[in-house]
Structure formats: C-alpha cells, structure tokens
C-alpha cells in the first residue's frame, strides 16, 4: 500500500470525528454534514489511488447507488425517516457482509483475519435481515405487535450458538468454505427471529442497536483488511448507536435484555376490569378560551400527532397563541416518535423554532407553573402511574409531569388505552379535560375559535 493513501485516510478520519462533533449544535450541524461528505470523498479518493482496477464495475455500481439514493433523500416524507434509517442499516450491513463473504472465498485467510471476517459477516447478515424486519414493522407491512412462540429464546439461542459454532469451525479450517452458506443462512434467519418478538413501541431502541451492529460490522472489516479508517468510522458509528440505544432504554426504564427478549406489549394487563370512571370533556370552543387566557402553555406531542398529520395545524396554533402573548413550549419525551429525536424533526419540518422544543429533564420543572398542558397523541409518557403505581408495568419509566400543570387538556380519539395497553390516571383527574376527536381536526377547530375571540 503506497504511503499517500494512508495520509489521506488520516485526514478523512479526522473529518469524520469533526463531523460528529459539530452535530452538538443546530448552528454548526450542517457544517458537520459537509465535513462528513468531505471525509467520505477523501476516503474513496484515497482508496482509488491504489485500487482502480475494474473501475467500470465500481462506476456502474456507484451509478445504481446514485439513482436509488437521490430520490430516497428528497422524496422520503419525514414521518418515514425511521423506515429509511432501518433500510440504510440493512444496506450498510449487507455491504459489509458481502465484502466479508468475498474475502473468505477468495483468500481463505487464517488467524485473527478470519476471526474478524467471521464477526463481520455474522453481524452483517443478522443486521441485514433484522433491519429489514424493523423496516417492515415500522412501515406496518408486518404486524407491529410482538410475535412469540413457545421456547422462543431457547430456539433463537440455539440457532445463534449453532451459527457461532460453524463460525469457529471456519476460523480453524478456513478451507471448509462449503460450511459458509450454512453459517450465512443461520445468521440471516437469526436476524429475522431476533426482531419478531419486539413490539412497535420498542423500535427506537432496536433501530439504535442495529445502527451499532452495522458500525461494528464495518469495524470488523477494518480489522480483516488492516484498514484503520474503517476501524475508526465503524467505531464512531458503533458508539453512536450504543449511546442512543442506552438513552432509549433509560427513557423507557427497560434493560437491553428486556427489550430484546421481553416481548413487551404482548402480555396485556387485564386493565383492572375496566371499571367505569368519571372524566370531564370539553369542546373546541372551551379549549380555545382556556388556551387564550393562559400565560404559559406546554404542548406535549406524541406520535399520534404525526399519524394524524397534524404538525402544520399545531404550528398555526402555536403562531396564533404566541401572537396573543401566550408563552408556548413543546415538551419532548425521548421516545416521542418512532426513532430517537424523531419528534423534533417532525416539528422542525412544520417550522416550529427549535428553541421552543424542550427535552424532558428541562421542562419537567416548568409544569407546576404552567397554566395549560395540552397533550396531543401522547399517552404512556404522560401516565403518572409510572411515578406512583408500583404495580404498573411502566412503573419507573421517566415521564413528563403533565399532571402537575394547573389545567390539563388531552386530545384523544376515545378513552381506549395506548400502545402498552395501560390505563392512564391522567385522564381521570379533576383538572383534566378530555377533548375527543382526531388530532388534526380538533386543533383546526381550536385555531378557528381563536381569532373570533380576538
């Protein structure tokens, strides 16, 4: 390997680190993207210095990537970003797995290179099918409820152990390439089985975890090809996925093991026999007058808001109230939306200024002083049972302290329980008004009521 390429790689590695560093502020973030692009350009250019044989193949493949990638980037609606992310985890993992496969067949190396290749292909193949499954669940092609069967963890564990056993055999006898298809097939099947029992509500964690796997797979490729740039980029991606999945787990008060093997949302709590309880409801007109006379309001958006495509109506409400001097903020729970940070993107798309989007830890102290909390399409993340009721399945989960606001209003279709199938105490409080209806339609009505009273 000639020297120049290595120096170019060092520069590319530095740019990747800067790229992620600049993501810490919305002001510098676009510069971060630029740094990342430059880093990638250098990485590819540096590689081509010494490796340009068969360039026609590369060009053709690149053009395919271009033809697929550009429409995805510009046409994908923001609500579908989680699916796109899952899909690109699948693509990244597939690329890593196939490079590993080619290397195993072509070189049949021994020693630690083979260990790295086996790790690379194992992670690559299982992340490939796992991510496709996650994508299917997010796109709702596949049922988002957990799918379980008897001895699930045992069967999955046995399959994984078998894959590892074949992998170890290949490490010791690399020439036994006839074993490799079995190894690859087991890894692919395991990826599917791994995601089957995971419910839609846990997808944010799973996506982050798959992100981490895809990174580690690229990292293993770096070990196999003795390329430090691959190790650096893979490790950055791996640690990013790891941190995000830890944040998601904490936000739901779950452990990794529980997310992966717990099949949450499957066992429906019997909902305490659903006794009839009293609640108060209100009309759009009443809601408008309460909001108008408030000094401060906190809007709590959940994924239901995005499903109803109500973001832009919320913006109108936000504008209208702001003009009347109401201080409006948005309380963002870490798991609001279908992937880490998703709700922020959805609201930013509707032109809501990002300094109005406040994370959970910061905003929770503000609820007691807030006149109105308006919950739209969020449920479990506002359930006080997570704080008070030790028997609740979500006990211990950090929540938005909506119940501490002076008045609480909840836009909801009906009194039916949410994703986790748990009844919400919030709805039965004296200070709570239920606003029944479709999120978008109801917000539209509130906005209509507002100017009439100006």
């Amino acid at each position: 390997m000639s020297g120049l390429a290595n120096y170019v790689y060092i520069l590319a590695g530095a740019l990747f680190i800067l790229s992620l560093k600049w993501m810490n502020s919305p002001v510098l973030a676009r510069r971060g993207v630029l740094a990342g692009e430059l880093g990638m350009l250098l990485a590819i250019g540096g590689t081509l210095i010494n490796h340009h044989h068969n360039w026609e193949w590369m060009l053709a493949a690149f053009l395919i990537g271009l033809a697929v990638g550009v429409p995805i980037a510009y046409l994908m609606p923001m609500t579908a970003v989680p699916q796109r992310t899952a899909m690109s985890h699948a693509c990244g993992a597939l690329a890593a797995a196939l490079v590993g496969t080619a290397e195993i067949y072509q070189s049949q190396p021994g020693g630690f290179v083979m260990v790295a290749l086996i790790v690379e292909t194992l992670l690559g193949f299982l992340t490939f099918t796992g991510s496709l499954m996650a994508m299917g669940k997010l796109q709702e092609i596949l049922p988002s409820r957990p799918i379980t069967y008897r001895n699930q963890n045992l069967i999955n564990g046995a399959l994984f152990a078998l894959a590892v056993a074949i992998g170890v055999r290949l490490i010791f006898v690399p020439a036994n390439t006839f074993l490799f298809p079995f190894f690859a097939a087991l890894a692919l099947i395991f990826g599917v089985l791994l995601i089957l029992p995971i419910g839609g509500a846990d997808m944010p964690t799973v996506i982050a975890l798959l992100n981490s796997y895809a990174g580690l797979s690229a990292c293993a490729m770096g070990f196999a090809l003795d390329n430090h740039l691959l190790i650096i980029a893979g490790a950055l991606d791996g640690s990013s996925g790891l941190i995000l999945s830890i944040i998601m787990c904490k936000a739901m008060n779950r452990s990794f093991a529980n997310v992966l093997f717990g099949a949450f949302g499957q066992i429906q709590p019997s909902a305490a026999a659903r006794e009839q309880r009293n609640y108060r409801s209100a009309s759009a007109e009443e809601a408008a007058s309460i909001l108008e006379s408030a000094t401060s309001a906190i809007i709590v958006p959940g994924y239901g808001l995005a499903v109803a495509q109500a973001q832009h109506k919320i913006r109108e409400l936000f504008d209208s109230l702001s003009r009347r001097g109401v201080d409006v903020k948005f309380a963002i729970h870490p798991v609001a939306g279908r992937m880490p940070g998703h709700m922020n993107v959805l609201l930013a798309e509707a032109d809501i200024p990002y300094d109005r989007l406040v994370e959970m830890d910061e905003i929770n102290g503000e609820f007691p002083q807030c006149d109105v909390a308006l919950v739209i399409g969020a449920n479990d993340v506002t359930n006080p049972a997570a704080r008070n009721d030790k028997s609740s399945p979500i006990f211990g989960m950090p929540i938005l302290d909506v119940d501490r606001a002076r008045t609480v209003m909840v836009i909801k279709r009906s009194m039916s329980p949410g994703f986790a199938g748990i009844d919400n105490e919030l709805y039965y409080m004296d200070r709570t008004l239920m606003l029944f209806g479709d999120a978008k339609a109801f917000v539209t009505e509130i906005v209509k009521e507002l100017p009439a009273k100006a």
Binding site: F62, V99, D237, I243, M339, P340
Partner: protein, 97 residues
C-alpha cells in the same frame, strides 16, 4: 513492533472513546439527523468493497459481491448525507419578530 492486530485494537479503543465522548454531547434535538449521518459514515465499508473488486486476481464471485456492496453502500452515502442536510435545514431559530 506491535502486530497489526494490536495496532488495530489501539485504534479501535481510542476511536470508541472519542466516539462516546463526542456523541454524548450531541443534543437530543438532533438525534435523528445524527443517526442518519453516522449511517452515511458507516457506509465507509465502500472502501472495503473497492479493495475487493479491484484486485488483479478478483474472482467473478468477488466482483459480483463487491458490485452489490458498492451499490448498497453508495446508496447509503448519497441518501444518508443528503437527507441529513435536508433535515438540518428545517431546524430554525425563532426569527426576529
């Protein structure tokens, strides 16, 4: 002299710590763009694919696997960077009113 494996492990360890420190500071506001950015960066596996496909003695199998790998990775590079930028463009501060 340390072996390739040892040097590789050093690089891995240091890059992981740098990654953890840098990512920890990213505001939750930007976690979605962050993930699509790291996604694009992890398509660095395109480098491996180029190495595989460009060998003088590359077998047909290597060429085809490398071909698919480059197509998949470059899809990620292109859509990843572009969509990240598209998202970031939407994040605006409150204008001077």
């Amino acid at each position: 002299m340390p072996s390739n494996l040892e040097v590789g492990l050093y690089v891995f360890m240091l890059a992981t710590f740098v990654g953890l420190e840098v990512i920890r500071k990213v505001s939750p506001l930007l976690h979605t763009p962050l993930m699509s950015l790291t996604n694009a960066i992890s398509a660095i596996s395109v480098v491996g694919a180029i190495m595989i496909i460009s060998r003088e003695d590359a077998t047909e199998l290597s060429k085809w696997l490398g071909f698919i790998a480059i197509a998949a990775a470059s899809t990620n590079i292109i859509s990843g960077f572009l969509i990240t930028d598209r998202m970031l463009k939407m994040f605006k501060r409150r204008g001077k009113e």
